[in-house]
Symmetry: C2
Subunit: 163 residues, 2 copies
Amino acid sequence: MENNDFVKELGYLGFTMRLKRISDAMMHEGRRLYSDLDVDIEPNWYVIFKLLKSRGAKSVTEIAESIRMAHPSVIHITNKMMDAGYLISEKDPTDSRKRVLDLSTRAIKKLPEYEKIWDAGESGVEKALKGLDALELISTLEDKFFDKGFKERTQEQLKNKKS
Amino acid sequence: MENNDFVKELGYLGFTMRLKRISDAMMHEGRRLYSDLDVDIEPNWYVIFKLLKSRGAKSVTEIAESIRMAHPSVIHITNKMMDAGYLISEKDPTDSRKRVLDLSTRAIKKLPEYEKIWDAGESGVEKALKGLDALELISTLEDKFFDKGFKERTQEQLKNKKS
DNA sequence: TATATTTGCGTAGTTAACTACGTAAAAAGT
DNA sequence: ACTTTTTACGTAGTTAACTACGCAAATATA
């Protein structure tokens, strides 16, 4: 691997971009993996499978909150999973605005096969990151940038400089 | 901030997704920042400004390699910067396939103003991450996942499990 | 009880990266 | 010198997130 990485030279200024590059690269690898394995699922589906398996049926908004995604993203993902036959959807009997999603029997039948892949993926990541405090750092990043974001922090710095 | 984060509970399995979420969130904050400040630039442009300022004129492919992006992405970004009047583009005299990009005089005139913003952004990130080995971890992630990706690591694990 | 607000869901449009492929020029091979 | 391969760039199409907005149902308020 060459070392011509200009973004790396930029220090903290390049941090966000480097984060995105790695995230994009890993995401992309994930897609290639599924396509190589010739499996009928897509990258982010695992989190829906796991969530509904462990917590039972949930509405769209509940899912969005549980995984910290915007609800339109959840609709998009779960619609594709429904088309593939992995989810069932029912109106909530007490609140007709809500649509409650749950795993189909097909999903439950297929889960063991898919969990082997996810376990292998997890082991691979774990092996690569063991001893690096990576999960702790991610938690810190979440704490620091989910509540008071990058924007607010920059604006504070701009104000400080003026005084 | 509530602590209903299911992805966090997934350990290393949720690592990639958490990385993407933070990256997306920071990216989004960046866009909001520029829109709040009412400046005529977009998030990733800074890296092109900085690169051409420090290294001088470069071709599309050279830029792509320097910042580790696919060349169509560079074309996309630099076309917008050209439309905004920040870049000039010329054919390479010795190789007519190449298109060489450089900062315009307008860009050079505007740079000090923009660098104030970027400095503030960098300070904000630095303050949030100081003492956390964040840059070191990013470097490790790059080393581990740019060369031998997530896919290959998972496939190794799948093989191991079978034996 | 009537009105106003909040909540849940869906659609539409935006953003920013990527791969795949095509074309033309340059370089390498025979 | 001719042919093949590589390189550089551009376009088209895909993916996956987001915000903004609108509608309808439920809840709160007057």
